[in-house]
Symmetry: none
Subunit: 218 residues, 4 copies
């Protein structure tokens, strides 16, 4: 990651102001990243000019280069930022003991998704084209999530709560179900379900995932 030009010819005797300086730099970097993610989300990385990023961040174009090595590095920094994205989700569903935990996972997934929509949209679009982003975002994030799901399934098959389905396939399909909900939102062709409808939606999804759609004989 680009470190700015810090420490260039500075005596180290000013810890205080130096800290403040560091904070200011970090703050500014964050502002730029947020601005960039907004623009990238609207127009995609390739269709965004550094000019537009600078305008959105309300700074001069040249200033970008004091904080980042170039346009691409801004993108990569965004990818880094989102690295801890799903930690929250996983924490909320910690334990994943039962059906309710899976519902919570879905619901929290929607919540976190909403709060970071521009970031996620940017990553999602670029991951199709950019191998670094694919690695940093899709594999790191989704892969983590996927492995957790798989683990959960294996455990509950062992415990007899779930049928002996293929855990890998099953985790993949469950992710696909979540994707079916959020991809239209990412693309802007569907609104995110309202906050108070999310639990209900999560229940309906988990219901289908757990019990299937076939009618049972009485």
């Amino acid at each position: 990651m680009y470190q700015g030009k810090e420490m260039a010819g500075q005596t180290q005797n000013q810890g205080k102001s130096n800290e403040r300086r560091q904070r200011r730099i970090e703050r500014r970097r964050g502002e730029i990243l947020t601005a960039a993610a907004r623009v990238f989300a609207r127009k995609s990385y390739a269709n965004t000019t550094t000019r537009e990023i600078a305008d959105e961040a309300d700074i001069a174009e040249g200033t970008l280069y004091n904080y980042f090595g170039g346009k691409r590095e801004i993108l990569l920094a965004i990818a880094d930022e989102s690295e801890t994205l799903l930690e929250h989700v996983l924490l909320k569903g910690e334990g994943l003991q039962d059906r309710e935990a899976v519902e919570t996972l879905f619901e929290e997934g929607l919540n976190i998704f909403e709060s970071r929509l521009p970031f996620i949209r940017t990553m999602f679009i670029e991951a199709w084209v950019d191998d670094d982003i694919l690695r940093d975002f899709a594999i790191a994030q989704l892969g983590h999530f996927y492995r957790r799901l798989e683990l959960y399934i294996i455990e509950h098959i062992d415990s007899g709560a779930l049928r002996p389905v293929d855990p890998a396939l099953c985790a993949q399909l469950a992710l696909g179900m979540f994707g079916a909900l959020v991809i239209p939102v990412l693309r802007g062709v569907a609104p995110l379900p309202a906050q108070d409808k999310r639990r209900e939606l999560a229940k309906a999804v988990v219901d289908i995932l757990f019990d299937g759609i076939r009618a049972r004989e009485a």
Copy 2:
């Protein structure tokens, strides 16, 4: 759509050679589109130069403009080409009478997907960024498919074969399941299941969709 060079001021006495000319033009247009789709699939529309398209099609850059009005028109022509894409799938599953038909649908979906991978990948990537492509491809193609699924579900709920789930949600989730299988392939991070494994895979997916993953009490 670009119509090629219009046939202005032609005596009509050469139907034959004129036909042949038309065929030659169509063939060449097709070659360019195939080449372009390959490159777009690799690098996305925005990251592809007309130079690269021309190289891939093994023609001079200028020649592109004898067949298409510009780079964007090539993209739109690809979108048009893929318009009848899913017709085949739907035909194969015609009737969709029972569980087996849904398996066939999944399987055929994978087959058609394989045969048109560069086209589909191109469309999929661009639909994120380009509203025309979104309309022409995603909504036209997936929407069609989606409505068919929904209809099928409604019918079978009525007939008592399926539980009274929300048909719209259910169709969406089923699409998501299919997406979970093909999206990694589209992105190139997973291989397409071998031809002779596809039926098996389709069965497993449909099994989960129909019967869920929960273990039943004896």
Copy 3:
């Protein structure tokens, strides 16, 4: 001037058919020049494509190159064509004996101008930019005319019919008067005076030229 590819490997024993061939070639050259002059007049040489010339002449682009060495040569050929343009005018006013002859000159100038408007417009536009055209057209044509006018003035000053004005200046001004009438027409911002108004107009102009605009004391 470009001579085509004639006489290439031909025995000379077919005078007849050879003559016919020559006539056909000349005819076709003329058609192309007329067509080209029309397009040049509309869009100027630089803004006209060989495609447009070919379309206007209703032949293929490549065919142009059987008759002319290139685009520029077509322009030069047009310039040549118009070489004999003003001969007619001068003949009509032959002698230029008196005031009436000058009127005839003006009137005939308008007539010839009308009949060759695309040629003249083309030449006029290009002469501003192209030194060859300037030489072939403006200097050859206008210069000729100018010298005749000057000669006439000198003669009539000698004979006492005209005041002892500067003949060169006077010829130049008379040309300017004619220009004032036709330049707006050339540019398409004024219509050419109707045929039956031209004599009248010529009289009015010559009246001012000869008698000035100052009122005379009684």
Copy 4:
């Protein structure tokens, strides 16, 4: 018209430096326009490349686009520049009371013409081909001049100083006389009369205009 980079998000506390910046931008725009007019005057708009303009202005090609939206906009800006061209001439002849005023008009016309030759030549050439330029330049400028002349003639016919000639025709012819003097200069085939010969020339022209060329009986 292109406004340069808009001043977005600027704290207003730097009126000074902002003004200086504005002036620098204006100066640079002017330099580019002058350079462009020189090249256009030599080669015409259509035959001039942005490369040549940049070279003449001694800047990089890309820099042009920091000041103008494109090549055409440079042309239009030149047209705007020359908008107030003839105001000066008209002011000098203000009143136009008598024959001497008309001489002044001619003389001043030559002076202003000399000082803005590249601009005028550019406009004159393009007006033949470009309707916007025709409107902005020829009609706005010459039209203005023409109407003033006409008015003058009408007034003096009323006052009895001039014969009852057709004022419109007469104004047109007078313009043509001026054109006869300057068009060869515009084209570069004749030098502009030396400063100290201009009054004399103007007198000679006005003499012919007012008194005609016919000898009077004693």
